[in-house]
């Protein structure tokens, strides 16, 4: 085995939004509320993304979630396992989920150490009674419903809310680089999940049947236009252009990428110049959600095709 193959690597990155509705719609045994159906386009998108990336046999899934919000720096789940009941405080009627997850604490500590070396504040959360946030749970569950791969759970730092979008994003780019270095040192094969919705303006009313899909559409046209612009940049491999317009996207479409998950992942992937695969896009109570994957193998294919030409 060559040194290169011993070195850890990121084998995939997925924009993996976390509306609890998609878990509610699939009627998994872990979730108490039951539905007739709902949000299939997203759920089918997740199925295809899952099939593609789990075939790569990752050792670990890393998830950055907007629903673990921290004031002082970037925090990591720091115990080997967490289990309990997650009740969504906003949609408790849809999401009451029994979770039981394993954490790759060694890798989490490595990322925290790399981040600290780069000047970020990082912390390990080691209270066993800590309730893992539903963003982490939904994204991980949709990518790996068997929960048989350990995760690294990373909090979302609130800097963009106190200072500016640009400042928050700059920190996330650093955290992404720290993540990449740590994965390489660890020898792990890792899949990254950016648990972000795109346009994020919600309806403030709910149909009597929450899964009534006749009521589901994007909240506003401008949000849809923004989503399509952003997705187009993903599909054409223009992630540096994408990162440049994200602060504007945050303001104009109230985008949840403000929480930094997407910037973190794109940075860890070294801002891919190869096309991303869009597995699905649909709205959830008016917000724009896309499941999008980046597979570095596509980069290698693009390079070899260029050489052949």
């Amino acid at each position: 085995m060559s040194l290169e193959t011993k070195s850890g690597q990121i084998v995939g990155g997925v924009l993996a939004p976390h509306p609890p509705h998609i878990v509610y719609g699939e009627n998994h045994w872990r979730n108490e509320p039951k539905s007739e159906c709902g949000w299939e386009v997203l759920r089918w998108g997740y199925e295809r993304a899952r099939k593609h990336f789990l075939e790569k046999k990752p050792d670990v899934i890393l998830v950055h979630s907007p629903h673990w919000q921290t004031v002082i720096g970037h925090h990591f789940l720091g115990l080997p396992e967490f289990h309990g009941l997650s009740v969504d405080p906003i949609f408790p009627n849809l999401f009451r989920f029994q979770y039981d997850l394993k954490v790759d604490v060694e890798l989490a500590e490595l990322i925290a150490a790399e981040g600290k070396e780069m000047g970020l504040i990082t912390k390990m959360m080691r209270n066993p009674h800590f309730r893992v946030d539903y963003g982490t749970i939904v994204s991980c569950h949709m990518m790996n419903p068997d929960w048989d791969i350990p995760i690294v759970g990373i909090s979302s730092n609130n800097s963009p809310y106190y200072f500016s979008n640009e400042m928050g994003q700059a920190q996330m780019v650093q955290l992404g680089q720290a993540t990449k270095r740590a994965i390489e040192k660890s020898g792990r094969r890792a899949v990254l999940l950016a648990s972000n919705t795109l346009s994020h303006r919600h309806f403030t009313t709910e149909p009597e049947i929450p899964e009534d899909m006749s009521r589901e559409h994007v909240y506003e046209h401008s949000g849809y236009l923004w989503d399509m612009q952003v997705i187009d940049l993903m599909r054409t491999g223009k992630t540096k252009e994408l990162i440049a317009i994200l602060p504007e996207f945050m303001d104009h479409a109230v985008s949840e990428v403000k929480a930094g998950s997407l910037a973190w992942m794109l940075s860890a992937l070294d801002f891919p110049t190869y096309p991303a695969e869009v597995y699905g896009y649909w709205t959830v109570i008016g917000t724009g959600n896309a499941v999008v994957g980046w597979d570095p193998v596509l980069k290698e294919q693009a390079v070899s095709q260029a050489v052949a030409r």
Binding site: T70, V71, G73, P89, Y162
Partner: protein, 468 residues
């Protein structure tokens, strides 16, 4: 019947780590004193609105009779965990929810095992009602709700309290300024994260201390913009509506402290129908927006006693303009203005009195009457080439002394001084020498700050708080 209302902070620090900071300990102690007051009040219900319980789909109402869990805060877990088991009055929550629905609002009750009660509510109930002697009811804070929807939620609470017939304590859990320190700090050195936030907090607390809840509700937008207030300070709109949207309260500020840079106060408001209304003090932010979900209004506005008052807009329209283009100041008997100090360079008085204290505006060295700046050093052509900090410091303190004396106080009663120097490196020692002549034996607390410039070309300005 509403017995009293309280504004309280929702940070876990006073509950979990009071030993780490004197201010956190003080908040803990004030919280507990209020808790004792509530226990002895004969209250039969505590109604809580917390800015930390977010909702998106309308508002949620807790109706689980006994929510039980161990809370580990997502930020402050290092300070420990908080086991809780609360006694909730589900009937009141259901009534409140039903009234909201009947008036066109989106509302739902929640009674799910393991539902995550927010840190703000947990802290407030643990400290205000430690033995669960009084049943509680809790309502969420909708992140999208604007003023009209939040007021409608408040009117519905008032109607529900009246219909339920129980003696009620209303608790509003909100921080004031909400700018956290984002790095690790030594807890013992905790302070409000900016002077601007601190000044805004104090302005609001001055008004609340006078019982002027509705006035505070009217300036909530300004406060939110200037001091990054907790959830846009919408909690005060809810509280104002619950309490009837007027200023007829006796106010008491129990405490005001920083927690990790944010502003945290405990305020008590007791309805006092006999209180003399000073309508000239009213603020009004202007035309009221329509709450789209309820065209034609909720029908709950009849609880708004402000409508019974005189037309405050008409009064403000009759006001003339002052020198600075602002409306002429309305008469307030707590404002101090004197000819023995230089004329202010903006629309503010020399000082205000509140709660037994005198709060002075920033006072410079200009000469009363002429406005000339003493201690200016000029070259042969008359151009200013420097200043004499000792002369300016002396003039500054003499101006402060005149204001204090006209307010019935004196330099000997000064408690706290903030000093602004435009050239700290050059002037500090000589400034300190003159300062010592005046305050060496009085020993007020002092903060000295270097600034780029002051509104006039002076080199020093001081801001003072003194006892009356």
């Amino acid at each position: 019947m509403i017995l009293k209302a309280y504004v309280v902070p929702g940070q876990p620090h006073p509950l979990l780590a009071p030993e780490k900071n004197a201010g956190w300990a003080s908040l803990r102690s004030s919280y507990e004193a209020v808790g004792r007051e509530i226990a002895n009040s004969g209250a039969e219900l505590i109604l809580v609105y917390s800015t930390q319980w977010f909702s998106v789909i309308g508002h949620l109402f807790q109706v689980d009779p006994n929510p039980t869990w161990t809370l580990v805060d997502q930020n402050w877990y290092e300070f420990g965990e908080i086991p809780y088991s609360f006694r909730i009055d589900p009937e009141f929550g259901k009534l409140y929810c039903r009234l909201c629905k009947e008036h066109g609002m989106q509302a739902a009750t929640v009674a799910y095992h393991g539902f995550p009660i927010d840190t703000g509510t947990v802290v407030a109930l643990k400290l205000l009602n430690p033995d669960n002697a009084i049943p509680a009811s809790v309502v969420s804070c909708n992140i999208y709700a604007e003023r009209e929807e939040t007021r409608a939620l408040g009117f519905a609470a008032r109607a529900a309290i009246e219909a339920y017939g129980k003696k009620t304590i209303v608790v509003c859990v909100t921080n004031l300024s909400n700018r956290y320190e984002v790095a690790e700090i030594d807890p013992a050195q905790d302070r409000i994260s900016s002077q601007k936030d601190d000044e805004w907090n104090r302005k609001l607390l001055e008004m609340l201390g006078e019982g002027r809840l509705e006035d505070v509700a009217q300036v909530a937008r300004d406060f939110a913009r200037e001091a990054n207030a907790d959830m846009g300070f919408k909690a005060i709109w809810w509280l104002g509506a619950v309490m009837g949207e007027h200023n007829k309260y006796d106010g008491k500020v129990w405490d005001y402290q920083p927690v990790w840079g944010t502003g945290n106060a405990i305020v008590e408001l007791t309805p006092n129908e006999r209180k003399q209304m000073d309508w000239e003090k009213e603020f009004d932010e202007g035309p009221i927006q329509t709450f789209a979900a309820e065209e034609g209004g909720t029908g709950l506005e009849s609880h708004n006693v402000l409508a019974e008052g005189p037309d405050v807009h008409a009064q403000s329209e009759m006001s003339s303009q002052d020198d600075y283009g602002a409306p002429a100041p309305v008469h307030r008997d707590d404002a101090i203005r004197t000819d023995r100090a230089p004329k202010p360079v903006g629309p503010y008085p020399h000082a205000r009195r509140a709660g037994g204290l005198l709060y002075l505006s920033g006072i410079g060295p200009r000469t009363p009457g002429t406005g000339e700046i003493p201690g200016m050093i000029r070259d042969g052509a008359g151009s200013v080439i420097g200043h004499d900090i000792e002369v300016q410091t002396r003039a500054c303190i003499e101006n402060v002394k005149a204001i204090l004396e006209d307010a019935g106080s004196s330099l000997e009663k000064v408690l706290d001084v903030t000093v602004y120097l435009t050239d700290m490196q050059r002037d500090f020692d000589r400034f300190n020498k003159v300062y010592g002549e005046y305050f060496g034996t009085i020993q007020p607390t002092r903060t000295t700050v270097g600034v780029d410039s002051l509104p006039t070309p002076i080199a020093v300005e001081v801001k003072v708080i003194a006892a009356e």
